[in-house]
Amino acid sequence: MLKINQINVYYGASIHALKEISLEVKQGEIVTMIGANGAGKTSILKSISGLLVPKSGTITFESQNITGIPAKDIVKKGICHVPEGRRIFANMTVLENLELGAFLDSDKAAVKQRMKTVFERFPRLFERKNQSSGTLSGGEQQMLAMGRALMGKPRLLLLDEPSMGLAPILVQEIFNIIKEINDQGTTVLVVEQNAHQALSIAHRAYVLETGRIVLSGTADEVASSEDVKKAYLGG
């Protein structure tokens, strides 16, 4: 479904953030990327969703070359990105944020229906639907960001550290939701610090270090690697 072929990404002239990265996500999979801070996980997601333009290499989605296409057009192709740090529209209400998630969809009835499912999944959002979303707590904002992405009816969902700053009970819930979304047919590429949880739901995994992929394989293979155990699984 998604194929990344040897991309290189720079910030400015000197910072070489991604070095010859190649990876693949197949239809229906949950793929996770783990790696220390600054390894380049966010940069990969941004390259896919068009917020960053690779200097070389190609990205193909459903056998279409999408390298260098602006972000707004990539959304149209069915890729939704839940960015790091949530990035909700802080001065808009929860409701308005969700509406914007379906910006490109002009079928009002369908949007309404999806809104209902999102509220069922996140009852807390329903309670606060008219609150200015900038004043939500961190966890509430994360739910909103996920909900907003779901409003876009994605075929490929990119999640950047969805569990960051969440309560344990919510972390679990978020991962359950990811699994559910996946079960309903959405392919997911998720970046996580919480390697334990991520590996427990993923089919396959990639491990990143300083801009390079150092390990890849099925989730179980990766989880049983000694290095990974030590660095990311707490022993």
């Binding site: 969703s49 068009g50 602006p70 959304v75 910006f103």
Partner: protein, 292 residues
């Protein structure tokens, strides 16, 4: 009492003009957080476009108004593309200085092209005066008020109800996240400039019609006043700008009416400062505490 009402009417007409300019200020500010100091000069260019349309091509007033609005919409978009877009990710002061540069550029290019002398704006209406007791309301007062009100309502509709309006608001909060929703940021910002500039042009043409005189530096003071109006109402908030414009127009009129016209500009600023001290985000600004 009659005098008071007369001054009130004068003030509302003046305030409508401030409001129209202030709306453009507020919209541009809302979306890219730029105090577009060139905005007052777009108002001036609008007045000149209509002037030439009427005096050279003999256009009727309403057509000239539309042409001026269209021309300035285009001008606003070009200015944004050339001078502001490259600086979007820079410190906001950088763009502010560029805006000052653009403002000088428009003023002095116009002086160079059309000379600094004031010009008489062709009279476009048969004037009617309506007398109510000793109070005089001219048809111009009514026209200016009606057109301003109409444009403001239209703008409110566009911003709150249309997709363009929603994307404007989204871009104004987080343009990167807006892109992830499929919103075309460049187009949205262009549209904002176009809309704001068209409103400024309308104000310029109305002023030309109302006072009968235009000149290349006519935008400086109203531009500054409109900015004050926008801040009084709460900058970035559309009804706030309209409200601020009216308050400012009426106050100025009353101050002059009370015989202190030489202190009028000072009073305008004193009011501004008092309002800011009492309510630091303007009258309609939400007093949100920064979440930490």
């Amino acid at each position: 009492m009659e005098i008071f009402i007369q001054q009130l009417i004068n003030g509302i007409a003046l305030g409508s003009i401030y409001a129209l300019i202030a709306l453009g200020y507020t919209m541009v500010y809302g979306i890219i957080k730029l105090i577009n100091f060139a905005h007052g000069d777009i108002y001036m260019v609008g007045a000149f476009v209509a002037f030439f349309m009427i005096s050279i091509f003999d256009m009727p007033f309403s057509i000239a108004l539309l042409v001026a609005m269209a021309a300035c919409a285009l001008l606003g978009m070009i200015i944004e593309r050339v001078a502001y877009k490259p600086l979007r990710n820079q410190d906001r002061l950088t763009a502010l200085i560029t805006a000052i540069g653009v403002s000088f550029f428009l003023e002095y290019t116009m002086i160079y092209l059309v000379k600094p002398d004031p010009r008489a704006f062709p009279a476009s209406f048969q004037l009617h005066n309506f007398h109510i007791g000793n109070i005089v309301i001219s048809s111009k007062d009514l026209i200016i008020f009606a057109i301003s009100l109409g444009l403001m309502l239209l703008l409110t509709y566009v911003v709150n109800r249309t997709k363009t309006g929603k994307s404007m608001r989204a871009v104004s909060y987080d343009s990167e996240a807006a892109q992830l929703m499929g919103i075309d940021v460049n187009k949205t910002i262009s549209a904002t400039f176009a809309l704001g500039s068209a409103l400024a042009a309308a104000a310029g043409v109305l002023v030309g019609m109302y006072y009968g005189q235009i000149e290349p530096l006519m935008g400086i003071m109203p531009g500054l006043k409109a900015f004050i109006a926008a801040v009084i109402g709460g900058i970035g908030i559309i009804p706030g700008a309209a409200f601020g414009g009216l308050i400012l127009g009426v106050t100025e009129s009353l101050v002059s009416g009370a015989g202190y016209s030489m202190l009028r500009d000072a009073v305008a600023f004193i009011i501004l400062i008092i309002i800011l001290i009492v309510k630091p985000t303007g009258l309609m600004g939400k007093n949100v505490k920064e979440k930490v």
